[in-house]
């Protein structure tokens, strides 16, 4: 019985091969055997770059999830106010790692390119699953890096809202990465164990594998050196390719959200401005800019840590948010919603009890010794330690205690 089964199996394998052979006429262009001859199409290089990408994408995924949790916190999540620069580091890392992943991804795709034209295209169910999973992996990886680079460059040629589209693409890409690791872990281990030298299999005169990795690393180095200065101040002088440069902007720092015509007009008629403190309070407040200036002023050095990856420390001066909440008769461990007078996507932000109780969380009236520029939120903006820049609401009109 066993013998018969084997015979049948062998015969069917032979006939399958014969049947497939008829399709070999379709092997043209890149599908032809030996269409790709460069020794740089190497499993070893693919494994090395794959591991590097696995690490960089994991860093981007974790820091990205964190940034989303901070901005739309579920009930179980409380983002602390200290250390002051934690978000500056995690988000700086998110953007810098994304930039550094571009050379890695392009190199990896080139190395693996012959596999796109594998013949026969599918060999069995698992192989089919493996190959289909490459669509979300490659599509997602390119999508994440491309939309990320364009987003921080303020260019939106697409129809979706960037943070949401980028966020869900990240889940899809990471899922596809898990499948890919499952498919390649064993092969990668073999490929890396097989030979110690990167220089073997060199073509006459052509680039060695080490040279290839050198060129890719060089590109990573140049991109990092010329962008990381947007958050890492020792490199600030080299930030030629950064879409924002600390030190450049009104009052010496960049602007992301800009005031509309209404906001500018209201800022000019400052006599009519009132800050409202309302919600779960026993004494609702209505304060003019003069009233605010007459309250106890607090000063602190705090960074603006932009979601776009730049950051800059500035000296802020204003009224502690907790002081206002207590003045209105609410406890200082309340949750607070801060609302801008300018409607828009980012017109409200939440301040959790831990943030509110931090002495440096304030409604700033001045920066570096000058009243705020309208681009920076005149008359009043929220600023606090360890908060994403986008949650430091500008042109504050209302503080409501939840």
């Amino acid at each position: 019985m066993v013998c018969v089964a084997r015979l049948v199996q062998r015969r069917s394998a032979v006939s399958t091969r014969r049947r497939l052979a008829r399709f070999d006429r379709l092997r043209v262009g890149p599908l032809k055997a030996e269409a790709f001859t460069s020794t740089l199409h190497s499993q070893r290089l693919a494994a090395l770059l794959g591991i590097a990408l696995g690490v960089s994408f994991s860093i981007c995924f974790v820091t990205g999830l964190l940034s989303d949790l901070i901005q739309t916190p579920p009930a179980w999540f409380t983002w602390p106010a200290r250390p002051v620069g934690l978000y500056r580091v995690t988000q700086g890392l998110h953007v810098a790692t994304g930039f550094a992943s571009i050379p890695l991804l392009l190199a990896k795709l080139w190395i693996a390119y012959p596999r796109l034209w594998a013949w026969p295209p599918v060999a069995g169910l698992l192989h089919l699953v493996e190959r289909v999973s490459l669509i979300p992996l490659v599509g997602g990886s390119l999508f994440l890096l491309f939309t990320g680079v364009l987003n921080i460059g303020f260019w939106y040629p697409w129809g979706f809202f960037f943070p949401t589209g980028h966020y869900w693409a990240a889940w899809i890409t990471i899922g596809a990465l898990v499948v890919h690791i499952g498919a390649k872990a064993t092969i990668a281990r073999h490929a890396l164990g097989r030979s110690r030298s990167l220089a073997n299999g060199r073509m006459p005169g052509g680039l060695t594998r080490r040279g290839f990795l050198g060129a890719v690393t060089g590109a990573m180095g140049l991109i990092t050196l010329t962008t990381a200065g947007q958050t890492f101040s020792p490199l600030r002088g080299l930030a030629f390719l950064a879409p924002y440069v600390p030190g450049v902007g009104p009052q010496g720092f960049p602007v992301v959200g800009t005031p509309n015509a209404d906001t500018v007009k209201q800022a000019q008629q400052i006599g009519t401005y009132r800050l409202m403190v309302s919600g779960a309070v026993s004494r609702p407040l209505e304060l003019s800019l003069e009233d605010l200036q007459a309250l106890l002023q607090h000063e602190a050095d705090l960074p603006i840590s932009c979601v776009n990856g730049w950051s800059q420390t500035l000296r802020w001066k204003g009224v502690r948010l907790a002081d206002l909440v207590v003045m209105a008769g609410a406890p200082s461990d309340s949750s607070v919603t801060v609302q801008s007078l300018q409607p828009g996507t980012y017109d409200v932000s939440l301040v959790n009890p831990v943030q509110l109780q931090d002495p440096d969380t304030m409604l700033a009236l001045a920066v570096n010794g000058e009243p705020l520029h309208v681009d920076h939120g005149f008359p009043v903006r929220l600023i606090g330690p360890n908060r994403p820049g986008v949650t430091n609401t500008k042109w504050v009109q209302r503080v409501s205690v939840d």
Partner: protein
């Protein structure tokens, strides 16, 4: 950007490390793959679910165009162009100097592609002069010159070494 398909000029690499377009049997460790595939597809399903329930923000049809568009542009435009350039370089550049030239094209090409959105500057706006404040074309040009200078130095070094021999 290595040398591609120049009939018979390049020897085949060690068979075992070769990443070719030859048939492969799929995942080496079927058990590991099956487990990871289930986990991965669950995670992907969560992503697709999120994409759909947030359709008001994600605009799935536009999202899909950009998601798949990347594959089309890369696999059928960028990669063939890169390979074409690789073939030209392998034919036009003498063996001894080909390495530095290829390296410079790889590094320069990647940096140029990364900087391109800022060089084009579509994100500039008159209401915010602090966004994209640099001259990105000049910056990119300088970086490309730097890459070319390194490649030229390597070529000169090789030439000297050959002469010394």
């Amino acid at each position: 950007m290595g040398a591609e398909g120049v009939g018979g000029l390049t020897p085949l690499p060690p068979e075992e490390d070769r990443l070719s377009n030859a048939a492969d049997k799929g995942p080496a460790n079927r058990r590991l793959f099956s487990i990871m595939a289930v986990i991965g597809w669950l995670v992907m399903s969560y992503g697709v679910y999120g994409l759909i329930i947030n359709a008001a923000q994600t605009h799935p049809s536009s999202w899909l165009v950009w998601f798949l568009g990347g594959i089309v542009v890369h696999d059928f435009l960028i990669a063939p162009v890169v390979i074409g350039v690789g073939v030209l370089v392998s034919r036009a550049v003498p063996d001894h100097y080909r390495g530095p030239v290829q390296g410079a094209l790889i590094a320069g090409g990647i940096v140029a592609l990364t900087a391109l959105p800022y060089v084009l500057g579509f994100g500039r706006s008159s209401s915010n002069l602090s966004a994209l404040p640099n001259n990105y074309a000049t910056a990119l040009g300088t970086l490309l010159l730097l890459v070319a200078a390194v490649a030229a130095a390597l070529v000169a070094l090789r030439r000297n070494r050959r002469r010394a021999r």
